[in-house]
Amino acid sequence: MTRKQRRLTLIGCALVVLAIAAGLVLNALRDSIVFFSTPSMVAEKHLGPGKRFRLGGLVEQGSLKRGDNLAVTFTVADGAATLPVAYKGILPDLFREGQGVVAEGALDANGVFRADTVLAKHDETYMPKDVADALKKQGHWKDDYGKPSNMPSASAAPTQGARR
């Protein structure tokens, strides 16, 4: 083989691998990304049951109820609308009423959000980024939410969560 042919082989291989990777990425982006909504966005968009999304907002004061066998229900509010959430399992340490929360799951037929993952961040001054942005947009932002938070330095996982 000449130098030129060898180089062409090389470039050909590279293109094939890149094409496969691009296909995988596009396919995965279509199927496996999850959109973020607040309760009022859920009401606006009329999200149907079964469609997975991330729900963010504040846990409404006094709404947390514990049932049998680790079942919990609480209400997520964003100032304009509220949405009931049902979850079964252990809530993260920093889950509190009045604090920001992000839950992942889908609506059921009764309009209750069935969460299989509940996330809270490892800092009492922290509010999940999505929640902070959404609240800010709707004018419910209070300045003390955004106090400088100490991110774990380069550490593996600042998020704390619970998964069923």
Binding site: M1, R3, R6, T9, L10, C13, A14, V17, L18, I20, A21, L24, V25, N27, A28, L29, D31, S32, I33, V34, F35, F36, R54, R66, N69, L70, G89, I90, L91, D93, L94, H122, D123, E124, Y126, M127, K129, D130, A132, D133, K136, G146, P148, S149, N150, M151, P152, S153, A154, S155, A156, A157, P158, T159, Q160, G161, A162, R163, R164
Partner: protein
């Protein structure tokens, strides 16, 4: 007084870095040995001053001097000594100081041990190193000064984030930074080579030990961080595809590729242009990681927007260094001479394939990490890219890589014999098939992909052993001769085998943990029994306990199997009074490579406590793998050819002699 000295030492280090940025380059242009040698002394002096500055901050933290804002915000007088020290880098300012300290350390090492480098190359390398250092000194002094005083010193500090009060913080960030920042050396070498317009096999031999060292630290740092997250966060996950984790994985993937392409360059003088590009990209990804973690852009776009000084400053550093080095590359790389020829099927070809797959995998991680940020900035739409994305893109690219791994070392340089290599890997293939059959039969009706993945892992491990067996002609010549051959093998060969086998070990751990992990979640009262994976766990009782700066509720479990008591486990839930925060301390019981894992939830009014119990089969192999890889790297680093130093190329030697006179 100590704070001011520390601050002043940092300013002096900046001044030294400025001198080191300019004088050696001028010296190299004028062929003036005295000016070029300035780089050596300034690099060492810089290390001295930064070390003094770092020591000052440590002293302030240890003595709990709350008149310094950084100490007040992150320390507490009752905190144990270890966490007073590690708290130094448990915050933004301190961790940036650690970053530059390590940068200065590497600069100092090149200055101290780079005596066999041509004078002009060393001058260029240290000058480039000083450019990076200058940028980060300015960043610290302008936006994140750790030595700021408070006008009215408070009596007590606000304590360190409880999650960080763990031995993991003592080891993980320094390790990770030694890796991140270590790649600055190969970056400096690459830029120096472009500036000089000359690059050869000797260059690769000088770069390789530094890259290898950085890679070893990064490997251990990532593994350590993963284990830390596993036991500290309390829900048994060890990798979350979180952007902060991806930020460390990307330089690792690029660095691994660099390690292999530098090998081709060292042995065969080929792939020069590509190796230089990879050196630049690897450090660029390290800088990107620093930006992602340090600018606050991940925590909140809001934080980034209200206090943009830090983020914009790092973004600026990012643009200057990545843009600058890539422009320099585009301008000078075509001038670099082409290297040796090789057939597609050859050791070089295999290493090119390795590079291709690793960099592509790195690119998918890059897209998955930055796409949500880019989409939000451009359209305002918020999405999250989670584990499924990476499982669908990263994993399919790693499968062919793992399949190819055993073939690489068996192929000859220049032109290889694929069929011959396949024949020599016959044993590994058979073992892999047997493993697939056994696992499939044993878990009949279960997951179908898992047995295949285990077979792949067995193939990788056996492939590494086959390579060794082949080299010492095991069973073909008398055993004593084989053993003598084994002793005579270069350590780099042993290193390769260990590192590749480590990959297989880690894969087994990952597959077993994700596929056959069993869990129990429920609320338990004293004397309740939970059954998980053949173990019986009885909750004996709950008791409160007072720690140095926290109160905790400790639960005691008696673990038994088949009626016999195995051990006692004591998970706890800690409440840190100063910050009003609580953490979950999981209890781990190691049985072989498997672990039982208990973490606690909330207590209910009737005295029951929520409990999460996992049995994680072979989970420890996930971290043994990287440790084995790092050990392989260490063996390779101690190889004779890297210790004795590279032979000087004739031209460079002549120039060096000239310069020395």
């Amino acid at each position: 007084m100590i704070a001011e000295s520390g601050h002043y030492a940092l300013v002096l280090a900046l001044a030294l870095a400025l001198i080191q940025s300019i004088v050696p380059i001028v010296g190299a242009r004028w062929r003036d040995a005295a000016l070029m040698n300035v780089a050596r002394s300034t690099a060492l002096a810089q290390l001295l001053f930064v070390a003094a500055s770092f020591a000052a901050l440590v002293t302030l933290h240890v003595t709990s001097d709350f008149s310094v804002a950084n100490v007040f915000e992150n320390s507490h007088s009752l905190k144990p000594l270890l966490y007073k020290i590690t708290g130094v880098w448990g915050n933004h300012e301190g961790s940036m100081l650690l970053w530059v300290s390590i940068l200065a350390l590497f600069g100092g090492l090149v200055a101290a041990f780079g005596n066999n480098l041509p004078l002009s190359l060393r001058a260029h390398v240290l000058a480039v190193q000083a450019w990076v250092a200058t940028a980060f000194y300015l960043f610290i002094l302008i936006t994140s000064n750790p030595f700021l005083r408070i006008a009215n010193p408070p009596i007590e500090g606000r304590d360190l984030n409880p999650v960080l009060q763990d031995i993991g913080l003592a080891v993980h960030p320094p390790m990770l930074y030694l890796g991140y920042v270590g790649f600055s050396i190969s970056f400096s070498f690459a830029v120096a080579a472009l500036l000089e317009g000359r690059i050869d096999a000797a260059w690769a031999r000088w770069v390789r030990p530094w890259t290898l060292m950085a890679w070893i630290f990064l490997t251990l740092g990532i593994a350590m961080g993963s284990y830390w997250a596993y036991y500290e966060l309390g829900w048994g996950g060890w990798w979350f595809w979180d952007p902060v984790e991806n930020a460390s994985l990307m330089p690792w993937l690029a660095g691994t590729a660099l390690l292999h392409s530098a090998l081709v360059m060292e042995k065969r003088n080929a792939l020069k242009v590509w190796t230089v590009l990879l050196s630049i990209l690897t450090f660029s990804l390290s800088l990107l990681g620093t930006f992602l973690v340090r600018s606050g852009v991940l925590t909140s776009v809001h934080a980034f927007a209200t206090d943009p000084t830090r983020g914009v400053f790092i973004l600026l550093i990012l643009f200057v260094f990545i843009g600058g080095s890539l422009s320099l590359y585009a301008w000078r790389a075509p001038a670099l001479k082409q290297g040796g020829l090789f057939a597609p099927i050859s050791r070089e070809g295999a290493l090119v394939l390795n590079n291709l797959l690793l960099t592509t995998a790195c690119a998918t991680v890059f897209i998955g990490t930055l796409y949500p940020l880019a989409l939000e900035v451009l359209t305002g739409e918020k999405i999250s890219v989670g584990a499924p994305f990476f499982n669908f893109t990263f994993a399919p690219l790693f499968v062919p890589l793992l399949l190819a791994v055993p073939f690489g070392p068996l192929l000859a340089w220049k032109r290889g014999d694929l069929l011959g290599a396949a024949q020599r890997l016959m044993v590994a293939g058979i073992v892999a098939l047997v493993a697939i059959a056994l696992v499939f039969a044993w878990t009949y009706g279960g997951a179908t992909l898992a047995p295949l993945a285990i077979g792949l892992a067995a193939f990788v491990i056996m492939g590494a052993l086959c390579d060794l067996a082949e080299r010492i002609a095991l069973f073909r010549i008398p055993l004593s001769l084989s053993l003598r051959r084994a002793r005579g093998l270069p350590r780099a060969t042993w290193g390769t085998a260990f590192a590749h086998a480590g990959l297989g070990i880690a894969l087994i751990g990952i597959v077993c943990e994700t596929t056959w992990n069993s869990e129990y979640i429920g609320s338990m009262k004293p004397d309740d029994i939970a059954r998980v994976a053949g173990y019986e766990l009885r909750l004996d009782g709950l008791s409160p306990r007072q720690g140095p700066n926290f109160r905790e509720m400790v639960a005691q479990f008696t673990v038994s199997r088949d009626g016999e008591k195995v051990s006692v486990m004591t998970p706890s839930k800690r409440n840190f009074t100063t910050r009003g925060a609580s953490t979950t301390e999981a209890a781990l019981l190691t049985r072989g490579a498997s672990q039982l894992y208990i973490s606690l939830g909330d207590t209910t009014a009737d005295g029951a406590i929520a409990v999460r119990i996992y049995h994680k089969p072979l989970v420890l192999m996930i971290w043994w793998g990287p440790v084995l890889m790092a050990f392989g790297g260490l063996l390779s680093l101690s190889d004779r050819r890297l210790r004795v130093g590279a032979p000087k190329p004739a031209k460079a030697a002549a120039r060096a002699l000239q310069a020395a006179e």
